[in-house]
Symmetry: C2
Subunit: 419 residues, 2 copies
């Protein structure tokens, strides 16, 4: 089909969309709402709603403490589902636990100790805040240098900048696979190889790619990875994160938070910490069960849709956002602030505009939810599994009307805390 800015073009894309049926697997309480923020909090899958009720009413309400006999394996089972369906990892290398922040702390600390004698951590100056802060803290704690490579806010990580920064002091490189603001997609294969050539370990943050982009951790020889589950995995607000440690490193790395869920033969409650074999040693305390059920269901649903088909649709959706932006928005003060090349873009697009904050608020008022990101970006994330091309058309049409009419100017310029 040839691009046209008419709504009928979006309708024909929807008709041809083999994933269109998956939209009904989500709760749509407000049929007029257009939700382009699944990259911040994914929508509620129908089956997850039922499973959470089941876990609360039956497992907790009726089974009570006896349910721990099955709950106890869930973090690893959910991890294996994420591994198999979404991130290209063989079983036994992923566990669902803690938050992204805590998991990054654990893995980066472990990597640094393992790389004894090397005292530099590299990340980029546009990495997600929690990544930068955690690494800053670890560097301080271990007396290391945190070396920040400069990343173009719209274009993502520069291979040359990374190459220039790497040296034989580098212990660890930690980067995001997809940039939270621009959506720029890093070349996992090339960058991991570069890092390995310098003798450093590579840790990927998959928060903005998992569930939308095929990730091949094993194939790319990645060492460590972390990711969240409340975005494209649709596991719910504050659902637990996951971590990946390549099998070859599991018995060489020791994470710093020695909790009873990382202990061999946990219920023997022995006198000294003796890490469990394999990935279990990277768990810490009692896992949150309700959130882990959300991860299982989310990964299962995405697996059913198929990550390659999701990626193809994601490329089409974000490409369509850019086409409509070019057609309608460039005369209204907007600039595309994401890579234009399909292969270099994740599943969201940012549009730069000096009044981005007010515009994003005006969009919400018109039942179109994207979000705002500093300093001047409207970020639109059309989650492949639940978004229609007509949703994109309607959202972009609303956006151009708001911008053309300047109907957002009654909104105070101050920034809210969240959305």
């Amino acid at each position: 089909m040839t691009f046209s800015a008419d709504r009928s073009y979006a309708e024909s894309l929807d008709s041809a969309d083999e994933l269109s049926g998956f939209r009904d697997r989500f709760v749509h309480a407000d049929r007029d709402l257009i939700y382009l923020d699944g990259n911040s909090l994914g929508p509620l899958p129908v089956r997850t709603q039922a499973r959470i009720a089941e876990v609360v009413d039956q497992d907790w309400g009726v089974g009570l403490v006896r349910s721990w006999n099955s709950w106890i394996d869930m973090p690893r089972e959910a991890g294996d589902m994420v591994a198999a369906h979404l991130i290209g990892a063989a079983p036994g290398q992923v566990i669902v636990c803690d938050s992204v922040t805590v998991n990054l702390y654990k893995l980066a600390s472990a990597a640094l100790v393992y790389q004894h004698g090397r005292d530099v951590i590299i990340t980029d100056d546009d990495n997600f805040p929690t990544d930068r802060y955690v690494l800053e803290g670890i560097a301080r704690q271990h007396g290391c240098e945190l070396r920040l490579i400069h990343t173009d806010m719209d274009d993502g990580i520069s291979e040359k900048a990374l190459s220039d920064a790497l040296d034989d002091r580098t212990a660890l490189v930690s980067l995001s696979h997809v940039a939270y603001r621009s959506g720029a997609l890093a070349d996992m294969r090339r960058l991991t190889r570069l890092v390995h050539e310098a003798g450093a370990l590579m840790l990927w943050d998959l928060c903005h790619s998992v569930g939308a982009i095929p990730v091949e951790l094993d194939e790319n020889n990645v060492d460590l990875a972390i990711g969240c589950t409340y975005k494209y995995v649709n596991a719910g607000p504050g659902a637990p994160a996951f971590l990946y440690v390549a099998e070859r490193l599991q018995d060489r790395l020791q994470q710093p938070i020695w909790g009873w869920f990382g202990q061999r033969d946990q219920f023997a409650m022995g006198p000294h910490y003796d890490p469990a074999p394999g990935i279990d040693a990277f768990a810490t305390g009692t896992p949150q069960i309700i959130g882990t059920v959300g991860v299982e269901e989310g990964a299962r649903l995405l697996g059913e849709a198929g990550i390659d088909r999701l990626r193809a649709k994601g490329v089409a959706l974000t490409g369509y956002v850019i086409q409509l932006a070019d057609e309608w928005l460039s005369d209204l003060g907007f600039t595309v602030a994401s890579p234009r090349q399909d292969g270099r873009r994740g599943s969201h697009v940012s549009l730069r505009h000096p009044d981005a904050w007010q515009i994003s608020q005006a969009l919400i008022r018109e039942s179109v939810i994207g979000d705002y990101r500093t300093p001047d970006r409207v970020r639109l994330g059309p989650s492949p599994i639940s978004t229609r091309f007509t949703d994109v058309w309607d959202a972009m049409d609303t956006l151009r009307q708001i911008a053309a009419d300047k109907s957002y100017t009654d909104i105070p310029a101050g920034e809210s805390r969240v959305t």
Copy 2:
């Protein structure tokens, strides 16, 4: 009323129990089940069941990312509720986040850095495993000594042993307020004072006391505390833990996991970590929302019952377990393995028996749920808010029949993983 081993005595205690109405605030799916393991996983409050459904269906399902505008304050709001109703802390000193394991790691690490020049951590050799393991890890990481004082497995912490162990090298003492196995209750006031006299900081683990015993953190000048919410607080499986940092220490201690939820002006996403003022600096990553709702509801419900009334009932219930054990079980190979003095006992009682594992399994088969703890304890936790005196009578009656008939001998002697 004078003790009698007849069931009618239990019935009259129930009739006189002013908290008896609170039993109906919990889901009782199986009316024949006697649940004496609320100290491991508290039962499901009716209102929590409804609130979780509301959070899932409405906040997540309908509100979507917009709900973060209210969710974002919940960890501190829930913390203030725990503070006010359960642990005697003024507002702004408690936050609900992470797990007990992770919170202990954060606070103990921070304390050690603050106490620069002192290089000993003291805990006791019968402390809960995750506490011992976390402290062992921290000691290793910081090149400190972990000094273990010996604790009688049935009788709790010895003031003399602590006193002998304290010296001017001691940076931190970390103890459990109620011992997980014996239920021995530590004297928070005396021990905290002793620790302060040595110039050390005091960290209390409240897991087995919060919600059952009045805790007075501010009044006792406690420095740091942690606790879980899935036991007596009834917040659900893997609900988040809480931590307390006395106001006077909040700007002097820096915890090691520098996440975006601990950052001042979080959504400005600034270049460097700049800890938020107050207790917020002790948060890390994205909080789990569903579990936090469970904490709010659990604390609210306990607050309504009143912690002093709950304590009085808890003393009566556990005292009654001991009276019946003395009456019925001492000839059947059982020994009371908990303090007999009311003021030295938390809200659970352990009974020692060489076949404890099999007996605890046989109890479950007869619809009486307590639990087993190594090496040879049947642990019975009659949660004050939801347990009747007749439940205790029926459970103890079942226990004596099982022991008398040796009807447990068909159960293999191997220990299960959880219950």
